[in-house]
């Protein structure tokens, strides 16, 4: 279990884990997000991560998409919803989401950089 004690979630072809890393935390996506309503599992998971990041004053979290082979627009909506939570935080509670992506997967190259425009300074692409 990770330092926030947040359990992994999975449904169909997707598994999402929260892992400790040397500097903070990593949200690791493996599989496909192509179900009709991914918000059912992603929204509560992201909310827990968000609350934990703020409560423990963790400065960054890596969103690791290397193992995610497909993300539909409903999944993009769920990720965008998480990112938009950062817009509501006071400066002393803000953290940064670092997106790690796989340049060999076409949609990751075209989709993921657009997330950096949602909330200035909240998301960085690695």
């Amino acid at each position: 279990m990770n330092k926030l004690n947040i359990a992994s979630v999975s449904q169909g072809k997707i598994q999402v884990d929260l892992l400790d890393n040397s500097e903070g935390l990593t949200v690791k996506f493996v599989g496909d997000i192509d179900m009709e309503d991914p918000s059912v599992i992603l929204d509560p998971f992201f909310e827990k991560v968000h609350q934990g990041m703020v409560a423990h004053k963790i400065p960054f979290v890596v969103a690791d998409f290397h193992g995610l082979t497909f993300l539909n627009s409903s999944g993009i909506k769920a990720v965008a919803k998480w990112i938009m939570k950062l817009a509501m935080l006071p400066p002393d509670q803000k953290y940064v989401i670092r997106i790690a992506h796989n340049k060999a997967i076409t949609w990751q190259v075209t989709s993921l950089p657009t997330l950096t425009f949602l909330v200035p300074g909240a998301v960085k692409i690695e």
Binding site: D32, D34, E36, S74, K77, A80, S111, T114, L118
Partner: protein, 155 residues
């Protein structure tokens, strides 16, 4: 446009479980037809988004997808047709008019921000995503009986 070198047509009852295999099939078809993996990935994503909309908002069993490849020019044309209700056809028209206006990236970002605050379960990101990420020419045709066809042309 010249006669296509590759052509596939898929018809299925609107069930979510058929979208993923259709996407993979289309991806493989285009990769073989054009020897262009990036374009195959982009078209597969786009048709998957269109099929998701057709399944979510379709009012009958018949969803119809045609993909045509023109290897000489590298052009791909894909269309998805489904029967809609008058209300959902009107919503598609309104969304199309909205997302086709202005810069593709700005429209995408605006739509993502709006999606994040929606509480009706919809994302309404599929078309704007296709427009920005594939650079496709997107055409919308709605018949008087509310049959909706969305065609994308990627060069």
């Amino acid at each position: 446009m010249a006669k296509p070198d590759g052509y596939i047509e898929i018809r299925f009852g609107p069930r979510w479980k058929y979208i993923s295999p259709a996407r993979v099939f289309i991806q493989n078809f285009i990769a073989i037809a054009l020897s262009d993996q990036a374009k195959a990935d982009a078209i597969a994503m786009a048709t998957s988004e269109l099929l998701e909309n057709a399944v979510k908002y379709g009012a009958s069993e018949d969803t119809h997808c045609i993909v045509q490849a023109y290897p000489d020019t590298g052009v791909i044309q894909a269309s998805v047709t489904n029967q809609a209700t008058e209300k959902s056809a009107g919503e598609v028209r309104a969304l199309y008019d909205k997302i086709m206006a202005g810069d593709p990236l700005e429209a995408y970002i605006t739509q993502m921000r709006e999606a994040a605050t929606r509480t009706d379960g919809k994302s309404q990101l599929g078309l704007v995503r296709i427009r920005y990420e594939t650079g496709a020419d997107i055409q919308l045709d709605i018949t008087p009986t509310h049959k909706v066809t969305i065609t994308i042309i990627v060069k």
